[in-house]
Assembly symmetry: D2
Homo-oligomer: 357 residues x 4
């Protein structure tokens, strides 16, 4: 590959902790791609690999009656699920910090739906806030002049890496059932959540806690791809039409199927999640030991700290990480992110570096 080289740009000569999608895919996925490359198969997700992946996911998550689909990415998954759920006058409730509200360029609105926001607490929303919003809606005499809440969206882990406990999710599910709201769990980083030392939700218990959830591949070892697991019958109907319409249906759908086969055939997905979480804790602990304060307590692969800008400048000489918010002239909130691909060596280098500050 003469023209471009296999080393990336100057930036990447530093170690990247800025996100969890800097590398390609787990080697096993590439191997599987290679191995099956010239097999002829039907298109659009109706091949044997997708079938096998569907079976593995249903088994792993103990949801034999759910429908499982695969789409190319997270925004695609979110907009397709939400468009499948809502009529034109209905809205989806989300934390104000929710991915669909902040970082998808109005994808939900472009499908015609309003995102109604609830104030987040550590990135999470509460059963009480949902109940209160819905009750207020129907109590208002002008309720038909406002969008009708019909779905609750949350992500596990959240944008801040935090986790809903089983008790919290159970309470939210109960409120949703009471008010006939669909509950949608965005699992773009689900692997990092399920493998967290603080997580108390088993894979087997997830499906009954919601109506639909996604399993993020992109950020947990796949080249790309999200699984969509639908339990509620109303959301199952005609879902493939919508995947096609939104441009999320890959002609060579097998590429999605075989990646999820690799991830779920023997628990690789969870091992990759744990790998990243453990390295994130090390990174976090190094910062805490040096006296820095976490902005939020995250038990997953994303770690947020409030740092002096001078410290940021120092660290960024050797490492890439993400600015999240400028607090004031001297202070910055930043994110350090590990992934399935992060090496022990990279984290060791970081720990050593921090000690020298």
């Amino acid at each position: 590959m003469s023209s471009i080289g296999t080393k990336s740009d100057v930036v990447s000569s530093r170690i990247r902790f800025n996100n969890d999608y800097s590398e390609g895919a787990h080697p096993r996925i590439l191997a599987l791609l290679q191995e099956t490359n010239m097999v002829q198969s039907p298109g659009y997700g109706e091949d044997d690999y997708c079938d096998a992946a569907r079976k593995l996911i249903k088994k792993t998550f103990a949801c034999p009656l759910s429908d499982v689909h695969f789409v190319v990415g997270g925004t695609q998954a979110n907009l397709t699920v939400i468009d499948a759920a809502l009529r034109s006058h209905q809205s989806v409730l989300s934390a104000d910090t929710g991915h669909i509200n902040v970082h998808e360029t109005g994808a939900i609105e472009a499908c015609g739906h309003k995102v109604e926001t609830l104030p987040h607490v550590d990135g999470k929303i509460t059963a009480e806030a949902i109940a209160s919003h819905v009750s207020a809606h129907f109590a208002d005499e002008a309720f038909e002049h406002m969008t009708q809440p019909k779905m609750v969206y949350l992500s596990q882990p959240t944008e801040f890496g935090t986790l809903y406990t089983k008790e919290e999710l159970t309470a939210i599910k109960k409120v949703c059932e009471k008010h006939a709201l669909f509950l949608f769990i965005d699992g773009a980083r689900l692997g990092y959540g399920l493998s967290s030392s603080e997580n108390d939700i088993t894979p087997e218990s997830l499906a009954p806690l919601c109506d639909v959830f996604t399993i993020g591949g992109t950020k947990v070892g796949a080249l790309f791809g999200e699984g969509v697991v639908i339990s509620h019958p109303d959301l199952k109907k005609d879902f493939r039409y919508l995947i096609k319409q939104k441009g999320g249906m890959l002609a060579k759908g097998r590429l999605l199927g075989l990646q999820f086969v690799a991830l779920f055939e023997d628990g690789l997905y969870f091992r990759l999640g744990e790998h990243a979480d453990v390295l994130a804790y090390k990174l976090r602990d190094a910062l805490i030991e040096k006296g820095f304060t976490p902005y939020i307590n995250s038990p997953t692969n994303q770690q947020f700290f409030k740092l002096d800008k001078t410290v940021c400048d120092e660290i960024s000489k050797a490492f890439v990480f993400s600015p999240i918010e400028t607090v004031d002239d001297t202070t910055q909130i930043v994110r350090f992110c590990t992934s399935w691909a992060t090496t022990q060596e990279s984290v060791d280098a970081f720990v050593t570096f921090i000690k020298t500050l």
Copy 2:
């Protein structure tokens, strides 16, 4: 890979001529994926591989001033380009057989835009029909009660495998310029068109003949992915926002970039196109020699024949192909399709088989 095997379903034990996306990708693409897998790079198409691919495409198509983007698939490419071009009251003109009108589950309408159809001639539309439609619109006293034509969509090759000549495209471009219409060429199978023995449009002459065109990767050797080449300044503005919103922006955008590097680094894209076309001609000639009549004269990788259903049944014992339209109780229009991955052996087997009928 114990659980699924590397052989696909029973159907695929027959040789598949039913489409051009039955296999994975050209080996060179897989090799490149492998080689670069653990390189860390920025996300969302801002990496070195995408940059390199952009340069190669601009050079190949001699359009240094165009913007080049990559999206995951053809529907995605079409809906994003069209949504970028049209205001709410404007429409896109297409052949009634056009892909956006028939086979994208209302993707354009879901973005709020009407597809106005013109009757096709061998899958193509004419400069005259476009001019006539637009003139009629503005001559109507109730013109504001109808959608305003603003873009012309056509595909090269068409859904029937036919090609616009340079003269035809030039005439259409002239009409578009006269009436301030954007001209969009859907090149989902562009490689098979540019490499056709009947094609008279060079890669270097394509960009000036339109305002935006796409370069299909999915059907011409890539795992997935379409290049979007934008020449008109009005379409360039903020295009990345739209890719993101529609869910077409891959976090690991490098996957798109490196595939197009592989396809355009040394002309592989065109060699793959020619390979499929030549095999399609052989397949076609075998049918004609046997006395069957082409439904349409196609100089590219898709071949359409009108066959007796008994003949169809016979052929389908050994080969998979696509039913297109049921003419009556005894007659069927079918499509045979070769691709970059079709082998000489498969076509030889077909030729031999046809002779035995």
Copy 3:
């Protein structure tokens, strides 16, 4: 009113047969507006007048279980009903000449829905064509790549003034039930249809023949306003949210209610319809007697003729009428339209004039 005068522009010094909305409203409506002007009432259609109008309509059309709503205009009615009926991937079937396909500036598409067209026969579609389209959809192996038919739209009378017979509508309803399609009858000119001498559908039999129909006020004596009569439970749910969202809910909803009270309190709506139809027949007969050929046989208030352009020029010296289509350099299809407001004198003048040609 010093500044503008009460006579309209030069054009209107000629007698207008160009449409059925050239004047204000039937005097009784104005009287009612005047009489109730300072009564205070709740807004948004929840007042006594709307309630009374709803009761009158349910009684007139013998549909006590239907929901009745009022919106400001026909495009509003059509887009709201269709948006209430369809999910994102579903389409509405219409004659290619249907109002929603041609004359609403893509209003349906702007709500995200595709209009699938069937070729019209005298402005009408047939049960057979609908059945065939739907069967073809579900028989196609790539059916999820096409919009799913879910609603049939037709207008009674049609754009060409023609009427569906009870037998025709019954057959269409049967097909719709078989395929779970909603049937929507656009009655923008319903009064002219129900009062036609050739009509065989009584008001009492209309509701069971469809799932939703509209009652046009604008063109049949009201200042503006359309009634929407919904029989199918799935279309009833939350309909008021949608009226509000689309901007069709009048703050002073009473204005709609009292107009429909006036029209339906003692059958005025039907008398106005008959008045216009009878005058249209006279106008039509005068043209036929003179040797001109109807373009289509219409039993309602719109009459279409194919005329020499020289004849058009002659007639247009004294009368305003509508060009519909230019056949060739010398021939034009035109429409003459009577209304509730057309006077016997105007038609007599026309008849006399035609004789002199």
Copy 4:
């Protein structure tokens, strides 16, 4: 009118201060309707009355180069203007309490556009908050993952009856110009604002302070209807197509034109505004004298108070007013609203009643 009577429901036997659209229209409007009723005129806003109204508005607001359109209602006006302004990835900034964000059932989102909210201060947004939001957008390295701010929406008066000062609006306009944002002023109650004793913005100075504004008719003496005054050339283009598409174009457009002629021919609009404001001050002063506290200081026809629920119950025996928000078990925020139709007697009765509490 035997069947319904001319007195409204039981509720209305109490005096209604709950909104400003409880009655019909100013008598002059009805007279004009009557006087012109049988004049024949062209449809869809292309008649002499609309022309005259357009001229009067351009003269009154000193904006001869602006385009003036009329639509049926406020939601219609807002959604059409915003849809005309924004591309799919762009958003409109609004106070979180803005009408488009709260009370239009997601009308803007149903057109595909996101409403980005800024926290309100007394119902208003500030130039600083706008500037800060926009700067933050473009400074973010992931700016293409968020909607791009392109329009600022505010209402004058606001939802809380408050007014922007000329200085405040000038500052906002400056920020909008700097960042290429359209500035849209929703004038649903403009008459009550322009006539307020605290207003410092003359009609002549309004157009240059924004790119588009609306003139509410519905709440200020008309039966219905809003004027849309567009100054920015980019918003002018093809606006009538959009009015038609959204269902806001009245076939009998003259009804809109003649109402605005009546309102602006000799300043009636402003006299009606002043009438309501003066009565609102009396109502407010009576409450303040009795010791009640305004929730917000409003210089227009809407007055907001925080009251004990027992007081609310007492007042509601004789008067209808609007609950706005439940503060806690004992306290309620309510709105009292006067209008062009409110009588001195009604307010006197209120003042007397309050003294007796």
